[in-house]
Subunit: 245 residues, 2 copies
């Protein structure tokens, strides 16, 4: 049976995250519904590179599923995007090798977290950025962010209820870019724990504000204690950019 891979963009504010749950609208469930209509067959399962939390956006989430008949991929992209009415769009669709699995085969992923750093609240970026008006030591945030590159125990930055087997993760890139009124945190890693990127950002902001009790990000990691790190930054500033296989 054909194995179909889609790259999808979605507006996190329209969904309660990726994963199917009773009584709420999720990306997985809505996408299954429209795929069923577009393909005229049931999709027994639909996998993604990872779950995104409620409110988190995606520019390049990768999903895959098996179906009985080889679909017209151009038509599939078009009809799924059109049924999703601007809440989700299919950027690419292709038939891939049987062994491909959007979650199990991932090599790395990039997330971007965008902070609007000015007095005035967000208008044109509303719902896409976290507005932080406080004075920030941006150089400090940039230095502390880079400390995360490498393999570390991320217990201090792991959300409660995380089901990962190990808190040890490898980070390939971790940079705070400063562009006019924006601070853009870009992170590339082999995998991430629950709320990990949002907890990193909340901790970087605490360093920037100068209200961290610990002297450095190294000390935060060494503490292996979630309560020592900063707050969880709001979901709507976060976006899954791409996934590499």
């Amino acid at each position: 049976v054909p194995n179909i891979r889609l790259i999808v963009e979605y507006d996190g504010s329209c969904f309660h995250g990726w994963q199917k749950q009773p009584n709420v609208r999720t990306v997985q469930e809505e996408l299954e519904k429209v795929l069923k209509i577009a393909l005229r067959e049931d999709i027994p399962w639909l996998a993604a590179s990872g779950r995104t939390d409620s409110g988190v956006h995606a520019k390049g989430q990768v999903v895959n599923f098996h179906c009985q008949n080889i679909p017209d991929l151009h038509r599939l992209k078009h009809s799924v995007s059109s049924m999703m009415k601007g809440e989700l769009a299919v950027r690419a669709a292709e038939i891939v090798d049987d062994s491909f699995h959007s979650c199990k085969s991932t090599k790395s992923k990039q997330y971007t977290y965008t902070i609007l750093h000015r007095h005035a609240p967000a208008v044109l970026d509303k719902g896409r950025v976290w507005h932080v008006a406080d004075r920030l030591d941006i150089g400090r945030m940039q230095r502390e962010a880079r400390v995360l590159v490498g393999t570390h125990d991320f217990t201090s930055l792991q959300g409660t209820g995380c089901q990962a087997v190990s808190p040890i993760k490898e980070i390939f890139r971790s940079e705070v870019l400063h562009q006019e009124d924006y601070l853009i945190y870009e992170v590339v890693g082999a995998g991430f724990l629950k709320h990990m990127v949002r907890n990193i950002v909340g901790t970087l902001i605490a360093f920037g504000r100068g209200d961290m009790r610990l002297p450095s990000m190294e000390a935060v990691l060494a503490a292996q204690n979630r309560r020592i790190a900063g707050m969880t930054a709001p979901a709507h500033g976060l976006c899954l950019d791409w996934v590499e296989y």
Copy 2:
């Protein structure tokens, strides 16, 4: 009496343009209302660097008004932005010389028009970009855009009902930037006619698609005939970036 200058950002989709009109919600009227509450006095007039059409966004619209008492500027910014609930924000407020007039004193303005150029419709940029899925000759668009720099008769690119005294305008910069899936048209000029930027963009797209009857932008200008140029691009892709005095 103090002359107050504000720099405001607004989401064009929330308003029927800048200028006050009966029965519709405009930036001018809503801003006058909240200024009246914030300052506890009537604002007899409120000028802007220029009217923006219905649906057009602004990152740096400049407005000014006179008031009886010297206001607390920090408080004014904060209370206007908070009453406008994410539809408009005050980015800067200052007391300026009596002679300053936000419309009459302008030296130049920059507008940006953003085109999303890919198959998939807009999701995260919905309402901020014009989605054009057609094949485009981008090099051609870039060359034709540059022809507009200088002083020209813009009759062919002037919207009907324009009340300008003369169709002759000076353009300082006119560039199509290509960044991943985006084509960003940036134009700086001393002044603009009604719908001029949107008509330029519609004409550039016609050149890009290869469906212009005339051989060049020079020929379009020389024709002095609105019907010879391209369509008016939709308002929601346009943004007033800044005004210089």
